[in-house]
Symmetry: none
Amino acid sequence: MTDHPDLAATEAARPQRPRSVRARKAVLDATNELLGEGGLPVATIDAISARSGVSKATIYKHWPSRTAVAAEAFGLRMPSALPLPDTGSARGDFTTQVRLVSEFYASPAGTVFAQLLAASVTDAEAAHFFRTFFLAGRRQAIAELWQRSKDRGEVRSDVDVEVAQDVLFGPLIFRLLSGHAPLTEEQAAQIADAALHGLLTEAGGNGAVGSA
Amino acid sequence: MTDHPDLAATEAARPQRPRSVRARKAVLDATNELLGEGGLPVATIDAISARSGVSKATIYKHWPSRTAVAAEAFGLRMPSALPLPDTGSARGDFTTQVRLVSEFYASPAGTVFAQLLAASVTDAEAAHFFRTFFLAGRRQAIAELWQRSKDRGEVRSDVDVEVAQDVLFGPLIFRLLSGHAPLTEEQAAQIADAALHGLLTEAGGNGAVGSA
Amino acid sequence: MTDHPDLAATEAARPQRPRSVRARKAVLDATNELLGEGGLPVATIDAISARSGVSKATIYKHWPSRTAVAAEAFGLRMPSALPLPDTGSARGDFTTQVRLVSEFYASPAGTVFAQLLAASVTDAEAAHFFRTFFLAGRRQAIAELWQRSKDRGEVRSDVDVEVAQDVLFGPLIFRLLSGHAPLTEEQAAQIADAALHGLLTEAGGNGAVGSA
Amino acid sequence: MTDHPDLAATEAARPQRPRSVRARKAVLDATNELLGEGGLPVATIDAISARSGVSKATIYKHWPSRTAVAAEAFGLRMPSALPLPDTGSARGDFTTQVRLVSEFYASPAGTVFAQLLAASVTDAEAAHFFRTFFLAGRRQAIAELWQRSKDRGEVRSDVDVEVAQDVLFGPLIFRLLSGHAPLTEEQAAQIADAALHGLLTEAGGNGAVGSA
DNA sequence: GATTAAGCGAGACGGTACGTCACGTCTTCCG
DNA sequence: CGGAAGACGTGACGTACCGTCTCGCTTAATC
């Protein structure tokens, strides 16, 4: 939550006891356990409360909804999950990344991701937590990749980084959610190829693949 | 409830018509009303039952879940909503289509679409209905557009139609669901441009834009 | 719980028995058990629901509050608890009745009575149930006693039956609630004597005691 | 909250005054405010703490329960509320007193009185505070009235003062709590008449009213 | 036409989870 | 070092919807 720094500052000025770290951790740990066991549907507030030993009332003091708890919990264990590739070329990096993300989506964790994204649709508070604790980190990392490639002149400079990200990963998201087509490695490669064809410059290796 | 008189009159003319037909129609009409008023969260089985005059038990005889009802109801009013463009060129057709779909997603109906897609994640039965009554029609139409363009040699023949669809519309879906970026006409144009750059041949007008 | 087998048997024989009757009975029985075990504080809706096997939602469909349930349950087992005396004289009848009521108040059931009366103060709905299911029956019976005595000319005809009842039993209630003085048989006799002195005629035996 | 500046100013003059005294006063004042605004249900510990600026922990050091706080607070403002009558005769004094008490019960403060009495039923600690800070003063005053009348020979010497009090005021209490009959001036007069008839001697004016 | 069995409305029901409230205890830190 | 500020576990609250069920009424197909 971006508010935390502010709050910390406010609390520092006001002689307030900082909110318990222990309770927060217990809740997030228990939530991650539950997400692993049965996904979002199983991570009810009652279950989280029972598993963590933290009361429902306290949970609601820290998070606006169960989805917000799940979003934060899920986001916290992600940073290590998807290390950025560095193959030496933009095409290699992004192709690898698309494949990795595709694999992630196809895994049990991907199901949870989809459930959280779905929950964000009808829960604005949760959406905020989801973007903050999960998407923000991911997108930040991809943005670095994009900038690196841009510096090398491998990607189209007239394409916005946000647009690029959506073109690369939106197709995977779409498949993940609607299930209308599989998320195999083969499919991921095809998607990456088509998308990158629209994003790379000739220096990025686009000419060769071109309008074959 | 207000449908009853009308329906009664209609049924009076055809006294032999099976009641199940009337019940189905009443349910779907009521559901569409509710979806229009408050989206999926408001279209509960209880509300649909009350509004339509069809008992919950009967509803469950026809559909596996409330999301399935909503998916079918929503799908039924879609065919007329998005007529296919015919601008004469693949670039024009797809750009127009992406813009139209983007507008649709940004509208109230788009919210319902997102809610249904989200619900499909945790409800396999509903997912089936969603794909059958909503996605299938859309994707069929787009596939025709693709085939037409392919015959003209305007699109890359080595790109699967499914992949093409996901690359074109996946980015929109991603934005719709997570809300991390807006769905304006300007953004839609950028997305269409980037995606099409990866899909069209030189004959499709790609050369000019190319490795700029 | 123990009722279930019996009910099952009963239901097997008469499968048409309305479910609501069974649920009501189960709730009232469970409530009376709980009242007997720990009084009103123990008869929570959750406990009643768990004990009776009837869901909370169903309980709330039948009663407005837990106090209302308790009032009805408690009232149902009262009719047989305090049979009206018939000693042949008004003085005897009322003295006996005051003693019996005093004993009742001093018993565990009296505690529950006090708790219900107390709850009525802040819960208008419960007050209605309390008056209907408990007080009404009691007051009706006493009114008959009063009328009988009045016909014999043993009680002051200018005293309202309601006033008479309150003068006779109000003192007991006061002691029961505030606990400022005991509710022994001796005390009950003194109260009855003082109160009756103000209610009986000379024909009712008041002259002898009179202005002693 | 609004008391703080005033209190601070008051205390500034006497800086050495024990803080606990200030805390007690602040709590009792805040409680009386709350009792006046919404009765016992509103005078929660949290509300009292917030209103008075005294922490919950400190409140619990001085009183065993919120009802005890309320009982003491309520009792403190009572002495001035019901001055004892002196009409010259026992009948006049008691009739007046019954009327005054009846009016009090029928007032908003009477509701609070009832709530406190009710709370005493299930809260022994609170009952003690209630008797100490409210009932004791009242009963002491009435006892004086009784003694005065007894010295004049206007009341039956064989009736215990406790019994007399209960016969006079118990009926009012009963009505106040159960609400089965109104607490109008007319009703108070009838109750006083019936009760006094059982308590006064002929010298107290009982003969005249007698078995009319 | 009369009979009968299915379809249906109405909604009661058990169940799960919700989000809230007040309690009384406990911890932190200020004056 | 007493006390404010308030976090916390606990237990109960009353509500919402779920999906199943029972009950009678209606009605279509059969006799």
